[in-house]
């Protein structure tokens, strides 16, 4: 794709009559031999030789030398032009390197086009998730019956407590079924991967280490294989080390995801599936097969997957490239950014084209002399193009340097952590892209002087000194056209950045439903070895929150298994006990959390009805829950929910609603609050399913929230010295983070808009100022004949204003047309928001007027005598 782009770009150099054949020859060879950029780059010298009609390498080098010398002799021209281009090219290179890694390059695994996300979609549930994953039983069903797969595995992501050299650490881990590494297709760097049966109960606990962890914790000691490692309180044998590219996210180790076929859970969909398609099987083929297998499974399990439920949830197979799972959120932003920087480059080109036009004007005599002495039209064209290409090369090189640092900055600010498996940086294809756009830019702005000057009779211009009226007017039109284009492009960018800035402000003012100020939070995880039952878990949370709250700087402390805006997700269908849904009708999907009693006070969430939870609400005592207002209104509209009973759909056991809490934004600042239920931490009897073990502790403080960290850490250490405190931060930070993707877009669009405004202004200033200098004599005469200074000023400002208004008009239409692209990234403002459109147009007109006013004022102060003498 890159080689094609390259050949197409370069083909612009080839004389038109040969172009088609030339392109076909290069593309044919590249296609037939599978050639890459190493072969393809030669298209440039080849095209150049054709363009220059067999000029020798010597001749080319001489041209380049002359061009470079010419650029060095005009350092200001070169610096302004070069830096303008460098900014445009650098921005494009930086964004492209991310786009290349994220959207274009395949995952770095063998035949990675066959690696797919093998999950379900259920648009009918109305839940905001990328895929609907598997239950244990569903996984086993597909594993046994799918013929279109070479390998199939499910995984989930966990934090795990490790003891390394006596130090507790909490690391990201993936629990995976046995064929996981066959799906990825990556062999271990050391030792072996999971063997058949190691994901079934009764096998020895084992663990695979990531390369980074191996390096950090064991100094790459190969003797680590076979040793025992304390993971979540269980001694696991290290069986191998996986190379860096085996990671799909932040995980640092892998343990088997143990599934007992005899007791496989049917309806709890929490395991993400990944598969490797068999040779020759298409994604569509695998999807069809999966669809049929799902129907078979549903027929066999009517309790969990009755036909009405399937229909209501619109549950169906969803096989797609695995990469789509990671990049879905970033795609839109990246494409908008790429478009944005593309606009910036176009504006930069227009500026440089104007510079070149002015320069060419000043060189008409020189060219005329050259022509008179026998230089052909081709010679003149060649000289112009060599110069513009030399400048573009200079800009490209500087731009590459800018991009190198820009990419790093971009990555530190990037919103969602992009998976490390995507290798972002400046590589061969990025270099090719930079070369192609530099060349493209060089040809683009180099064409203007060529079209404007090389065509006309240069000897005539030698005679009249380049003042022939008609040619002048035509050139002026070209320059004015460039200015109009610049203004239009700049306005589109300004409107885009204005709209995102407004939605950013709207997001900042959203009522989250809780108070992020003066609150800090950290995460902990309780292993089921040290805390075997719900009783011990509850007791620990109780002691911990009491101990932390004993600090005089602390107002309140509480625990929740998944703070708002942290991407924690747990949900299921619920129903009111007094009015259960009919058989087969799916209740609303309700977000579920478990909290300790002080949670609502600690987070500053209002209890709007009833009371806050108490320790005695546990399942074996009062069995009381607090629900969100949205859920209360959905089940008991117009009546109090307190005292009513609510249950998981299909369950016999119901909880009593003791209180109703204000609604809270959970998924994302921009998403409406979810229906939610808050259970007590003690929500299940002994032997029943696990208590909340991966939780966030939230601490409300009287003063600086971070000052409470040390006290909380001491309290934690006192209670359990082996439990690490993970990721302590303010709750405000949590909110900022969830706004990161918007603020990132706002920042980059703001920068782009700023650059566009600056370049556009410089463009207008340049053109008006140049016109004024050319018209000095005329203005002098007019003033000598008695024209008032104000009139002169007005006529020049008017000239600039006409161009600006024309550009603004086109730009408004363009921004209107492109608004659809931005719409999905906006919040609280429509993509065609009249205020933003008007404001940005006014800003642009204002700045442009200033840019014309400066040269106009100079003109109005022209001394007529002086002006005429200059003639």
């Amino acid at each position: 794709m890159i080689t094609r782009l390259w050949v197409w770009t370069v083909s612009a150099l080839v004389p038109r009559e040969d172009r088609g054949a030339w392109r076909e020859e290069w593309l044919g060879e590249l296609r037939a031999t599978g050639g890459d950029m190493r072969q393809a780059w030669g298209a440039l010298p080849d095209a150049w030789c054709l363009r220059t009609d067999g000029w020798t390498m010597d001749g080319m080098l001489r041209d380049v030398r002359i061009a470079v010398r010419g650029l060095i002799r005009k350092p200001l021209f070169t610096a302004v032009g070069g830096i303008t281009l460098a900014v445009g090219i650098g921005a494009n290179t930086a964004i492209f390197s991310v786009v290349d890694a994220v959207l274009i390059n395949p995952l770095p695994w063998p035949s990675s086009e066959r690696v797919v996300s093998y999950n379900h979609a259920a648009p009918g549930l109305g839940v905001n998730v990328p895929v609907v994953p598997h239950s244990e039983a569903l996984f086993l069903h597909y594993l046994e019956n799918a013929k279109s797969l070479d390998a199939f595995a499910v995984f989930d992501q966990r934090k795990m407590n490790l003891i390394i050299d006596g130090e507790p650490q909490r690391l990201d881990a993936n629990r995976v079924t046995q064929q996981y590494f066959d799906v990825i297709g990556i062999p271990p760097a050391l030792g072996r991967t999971f063997a058949v049966g190691e994901d079934r109960p009764g096998s020895e606990p084992v663990v695979l280490l990531g390369y980074g962890l191996w390096e950090r914790a064991y100094g790459k000691d190969p003797g680590v294989v076979g040793r025992l490692l304390d993971v979540n309180g269980v001694q696991r044998r290290v069986i191998g080390v996986m190379p860096e590219i085996a990671r799909v996210g932040e995980e640092e180790l892998w343990t088997p995801l143990v599934i007992d076929p005899a007791q496989a859970n049917e309806g709890s969909l929490g395991l993400i599936g990944a598969a490797r398609l068999a040779e020759g099987v298409t994604v569509a083929g695998a999807n069809t097969e999966m669809h049929e297998l799902l129907l078979r499974f549903a027929q066999a399990h009517p309790d969990d997957f009755g036909p009405e439920i399937l229909e209501q949830a619109q549950l169906d197979a969803d096989v797609k490239p695995l990469k789509d799972l990671f990049v879905e959120d970033t795609r839109q932003i990246l494409l908008v950014l790429l478009g944005t920087v593309g606009f910036v480059l176009l504006i930069a080109c227009a500026n440089v084209a104007n510079l070149f036009l002015v320069r060419a004007e000043g060189r008409q005599r020189e060219q005329a002399v050259r022509t008179a002495m026998g230089a052909s039209r081709g010679d003149v064209v060649r000289q112009y193009l060599t110069e513009s290409l030399a400048l573009a090369t200079f800009g490209g090189l500087v731009g590459l340097g800018l991009a190198h640092f820009g990419v790093r900055g971009l990555l530190t600010m990037a919103p969602a952590e992009l998976p490390s498996v995507l290798d972002i940086g400046i590589d061969g294809s990025v270099l090719a892209f930079t070369a192609a756009i530099s060349l493209g830019a060089g040809i683009l702005f180099g064409m203007f002087p060529v079209l404007g000057y090389a065509r006309k009779d240069l000897v005539a211009s030698l005679r009249d000194g380049g003042r022939s009226a008609t040619a002048g007017r035509e050139r002026h039109r070209v320059r004015s056209g460039l200015v109009v284009a610049q203004v239009a492009l700049a306005l589109v960018l300004l409107v885009g950045s204005g709209l995102t800035a407004r939605s950013f402000l709207a997001l900042r003012n959203v009522d989250l439903g809780f108070q992020p100020e003066q609150r800090m939070t950290f995460a902990i995880g309780l292993s089921d070895v040290a805390y075997p039952d719900v009783e011990s878990v509850e007791a620990f949370y109780r002691r911990l929150t009491e101990r932390i709250a004993a600090d005089p700087r602390v107002v309140a402390a509480a625990v929740i298994d998944g703070l708002p805006l942290t991407e924690a997700k747990s949900a299921g269908p619920m129903e009111p006990e007094d009015e259960p849904f009919e058989e087969g009708q799916l209740g609303p999907i309700v977000e579920q959390r478990r909290v300790t009693p002080g949670y609502f006070a600690a987070m500053g969430i209002d209890i709007v009805d009833g009371r806050a939870p108490e320790w005695s609400d546990r399942v074996d005592q009062g069995a009381g829950v607090v629900i969100g207002k949205k859920l209360a209104d959905a089940f008991w509209p117009g009546a109090s929910a307190v005292g009513r009973r609510i249950r998981s759909q299909g369950d016999d056991f119901a909880w009593e609603v003791v209180g109703v809490a204000g609604d809270v934004r959970f998924d994302d600042v921009s998403q409406e609050p979810l229906a939610i239920i808050y259970y007590p931490v003690f929500d299940a009897g002994p032997g029943s399913y696990a208590a909340a073990r991966n939780v966030d502790v939230v601490v409300q403080t009287a003063g600086d929230p971070l000052a409470a960290i040390d006290g909380a850490r001491a309290a934690l250490r006192e209670l359990d010295p082996r439990m690490p405190m993970v990721n302590p931060r303010t709750v405000q930070d949590v909110v900022e983070r969830s706004l990161a993707s918007t603020s990132f877009t706002v920042l980059l669009l703001g920068i782009a808009g700023g650059i566009a405004l600056l370049l556009g202004t410089v463009g207008i200033y340049g053109v008006i100022s140049y016109t004024v200098s050319r018209r000095t004599a005329e203005i002098g005469v007019r003033m000598a004949l008695g024209a008032p200074a104000a009139k002169v000023l007005g006529s020049i400002v008017g000239q600039g204003l006409r161009l600006t208004v024309l550009g603004v008009g086109i730009g408004l239409a363009g921004a209107w047309g492109l608004s659809r692209v931005l719409a999905s990234l906006l919040y609280g403002v429509t993509a065609t928001d009249p205020t933003t459109f008007t404001a940005m147009a006014s800003v642009l007109i204002g700045v442009a007027t200033l840019a014309t006013w400066l040269p106009a004022r100079r003109a109005s102060r022209v001394d007529p005598v002086e002006a005429l003498r200059a003639e």
């Binding site: 060879e29 296609r31 080849d46 030789c49 054709l50 067999g54």
Partner: protein, 108 residues
């Protein structure tokens, strides 16, 4: 149109004579970068020592790619072969005389 025989053109001419018909093929045989091999091919064709023809349209479409262009020696090209061989021999002798002289790559 006359052509100054250089090592590069000589190498390329000989490669085509030996049956290497496609640009990339010639480039690989002569171990020349594509930016050197192609201009040489163009010069030879222009000078009438080579002629080119296009692959059959249907054949190319069958294998799902653009047509390939192949180069053949003309009568003049064949007549120029001894000159090319002589040029290469000269270079070889020169290099031999210089023992460990510079490579063949630079065209002067």
């Amino acid at each position: 149109m006359s052509l100054r025989m250089t090592q590069i053109t000589a190498l390329v001419l000989r490669a085509v004579a030996a049956g290497h018909r496609y640009g990339f093929d010639v480039m690989e045989t002569c171990a020349l970068p594509s930016g050197t091999a192609y201009p040489a091919l163009r010069r030879l064709e222009k000078a009438g020592l080579l002629r080119s023809s296009w692959e059959d349209e249907d054949e190319a479409r069958a294998s799902g790619r653009p047509r390939r262009r192949s180069y053949q020696l003309t009568a003049r090209g064949r007549a120029a072969l001894p000159e090319a061989e002589q040029k290469l021999e000269e270079v070889r002798r020169l290099l031999g005389a210089m023992d460990h002289g510079p490579g063949l790559e630079t065209e002067r």
